[in-house]
Every structure is written in C-alpha cells, then in structure tokens.
Amino acid sequence: MVKDLQEIRHLENRDQLNGSASQGAALESEHLSRVVGEKILVNEISVQVQVGEVLAVVGPSGSGKTSFLRLLNRLDEPTGGIVRFNGRDYRELAPPELRRRIGMVMQAAFLFPGTVADNVAYGPRQRGQALAAEQIAVLLQRVGLPGYQERDVSNLSGGEAQRVSIARTLANDPEILLLDEPTSALDEDSARKVEDLVLDIIRERRMTCVIVTHNAAQARRVAHRAMVLKAGKLAAIGPTDEVLQDV
C-alpha cells in the first residue's frame, strides 16, 4: 500500500514537472567534449535541459556520465564545445558563482570535518553570508535531520551524511541541481529514502535537474527524459520510458 502511494506520488511529480518542461532551456550543451591525453571522455554531446525538467544520464561504467556532469558546472574544463546556462555562455560567469547556481551532489557526501551546521553553512559563508541558526534548522528539518546541527559529521551514517550533503547544496539556493549517483553508495533502504527526498525537493522547488544513475528503475522513477551515453557519445535521448524500454 505504501509502495503504491509512493508510485502514485512519483507519477504526480512527473506530471507536474512535465507541465513545466517547455519554458526554455535552463542548460544547454553544444558539441561538448573533453579529451584527456588520447582518451576521449566526452564526445561532442549536444543536449538541452528545459526549466523544471529532470534529465537522467544513464550508461555503462566508463561511458562518460560523471565526466559529462562535471563539465556542466565547470568542475572540469571542456576541451571543446560550449555550455549555455539560461541562454548565456557559462564562461561569462565566475566559476564560484556558476557553481553556486548549479549545485552538485556527489556520489559520496565528502563532508568537511566539524559539525553538521558548519557543513550546511559552508556555501553561503564563501560569499560572506552567515546562515542564521533558524535557516540551518529549517534545511535540516527538510532533509529529515531535525536537531542534528551540533552533531559531529564523523558520527553520521552514510544516509545521514548524504542528507547533510543535500542540505549543504540547497543552502546555496541553486537554480539547477546536478546529482552524481547520489544513492549508489547507500544501502537499499537509505537509497530509496534519499531518492524520495530528492524527488520531493525537486517538486517543491520546481528545480531543473540532471541526475547520473546506473539504475534504470531509478531513472524511470525520477526523470522526464533520459540520455544514454556509450563511450562518451550520446547514443540515445528521449522520454525515459521510451529510451529505457529495453534496459
């Protein structure tokens, strides 16, 4: 029964997001490439992500999923092509500003030593802003960790750490969320809870989102469209159910 309700809610999420998916490209790559030495990691990928859309990036290990995602917030520098953020070449923005607006949640939480509150306040602190205690409390409440402010991050479980990582990213109030297999390092139960949390947040904030996942079922649950990468090249893109019907 609970599972059915979750499925209904996911479908509602997708319908709501589908309704807002044609307002214009929030993020666009054009012939985006990255070559390191003689290895082609990302090969001439052109794709548009609409405002409010959730795009899943799927493909086998080593196909360039994470490499592609890292180019979208300039964590790595493209060796060819261009990325447009809200229609503008993203190189017009300073990398710290770009990365604040295009938030990223990584596969592992990579929390900084200290308390949960320190971690949540990290992003705004880089811009000289102090996050109020109430704001930290609200963010932690939102990710299901009420009262965790003063906990040392070394005492958190994997699922809790990933929730803190999500809260830390949300503290920057990003317009776009990049998710790099955010549940792959978690056990099944934690993974599903974190996935539900991410879905709820995307729905609430009507966020544009690019999620890398090796899990086709997860891609079907969360994304409007999916793109399949093979050896760094775009092999297919389209509505998730169509693209992943044979996966």
């Binding site: 917030n73 964590l75 990398p95 710290p96 500003e97 990365r99 604040r100 938030g103 990223m104 990584m106 592992a108 990579f110 929390l111 900084f112 990290y122 992003g123 880089q126 811009r127 990582s165 830390r168 990213t169 920057n172």
Partner: protein, 206 residues
C-alpha cells in the same frame, strides 16, 4: 699574482690531503666490512673515485672563487638556489611550474635570512664566510620547501573529494586547499622548530 698562485697551490694541496684522509677512512670501513663478509668493494671504489673527483673539482673551484668579490658570492648563491629549486621540484610531480615555485620559495626564505644576517652584521660580506653560511641556509630552505610540497601534494591527493565538494559549493580554489597548505607548512617547519629548541645542545645539520 704570485700571492694568488701561492694561495691556489696551498688550497689545492690542502684539498688533496683532505681527500686522501677521507679515502683512507673509507678504505678502513671497506676492510672492516670485508672482514665480516659484507662486500661493498665495487660500490665503495666507484663512490670513492667519484667523491675524490668531486672534492678536488669543488676544492679547485672554491680556491679560485673564494677570493672574489660580493657580486661573485651573490652569483654563487643564486646558482645554489637554482640547483636547490631543481632538487626540491622533483618532490612535486603534478604541481604546475614546480621549479619556478621552488626557486621563488627558496630565494625568498633563504634570501631574506641571508640579507638580515648581512645587515645585522651576523655574517660579513666576505665571500669565504658568505658562501658557506649561505649554502647552509639555502640547503635548509630547500629541505623545508621539498617537505612542504610533498606533504601538500599527498594531502591534496588524499582529499580530492572534499576539495571538489568545496569547489562545487562555490568556494574559490585557494580556500578549498587552505587547510592542506597550512598543514604542509606546519609539517615542513616542525623539524626546524625542533632544531631551534635544541640549539646549543644538539647539532643537527640536515
């Protein structure tokens, strides 16, 4: 001219005698090793030959140069700094422009120390004093630089995830690596601080 030749001859003879004394000591060690079936004859012979040539060459060079003027001393110290930078840079593969970075670091640290010592009269500008003291300071600066770069590189490699997480949250690169710069500098200074603490009791020339 005759005075210079006299000094030259004196220095060369002194250098050869010192080298011969060193060879004699090394041969004694080789014979001791041989007695306990530790065979280091070949390596010892090669090392001795090389050391002898180097010592004579350096002795001749110093004998010629140590009677030069302050500009010559400065040139020698700059040359030493460059050699130290090349050596220190080998500890930092992957760091961009390591030789330039090492040269600037060693020159800044060693240069300031030498300048202050000169200005305060701790050492005189005589080449025969300045070059040996300067070389010791440069050697220490080289060790500190190499240790700092090695530690920094190791720390960055061990914390790539956290550094990238910081960058992804909008931090500038200098902020994300600041903790590792601090720990690298601290680690490189520790041996020097220990030397300072034991000054007068323990002589520890690195």
């Amino acid at each position: 001219m005759s005075e210079l030749l006299s000094i030259w001859n004196h220095q060369v003879i002194l250098g050869i005698v010192q080298a011969a004394a060193a060879v004699a000591l090394c041969l004694a060690v080789v014979f001791m090793c041989r007695r306990f079936a530790v065979h280091v004859e070949r390596e010892a012979a090669l090392s001795l030959a090389r050391g002898f040539v180097q010592m004579v060459a350096v002795g001749v060079l110093l004998a010629a140069l140590l009677h030069g003027s302050l500009p010559i001393a400065v040139c020698i110290l700059v040359g030493m700094t460059f050699a130290a930078a090349v050596t220190a840079a080998r500890r930092a593969p992957g760091i961009s422009r390591p030789r330039l970075l090492s040269f600037c670091a060693i020159a800044a640290g060693g240069g300031v120390a030498i300048a202050v010592m000169l200005a305060s009269g701790t050492v005189t500008s005589d080449l025969i004093i300045l070059v040996p003291v300067g070389s010791m300071i440069i050697a220490n600066a080289m060790n500190a630089c190499a240790q700092a770069m090695e530690r920094f590189r190791a720390d960055v490699l061990a914390h790539v995830g956290q550094i990238e997480a910081g960058l992804s949250l909008g931090a500038d690169p200098a902020t994300t690596v600041a903790p590792y710069v601090q720990s690298a500098v601290y680690a490189s200074l520790l041996p020097r601080l220990d030397m300072l603490k034991s000054l007068g009791f323990v002589w520890n020339q690195e």
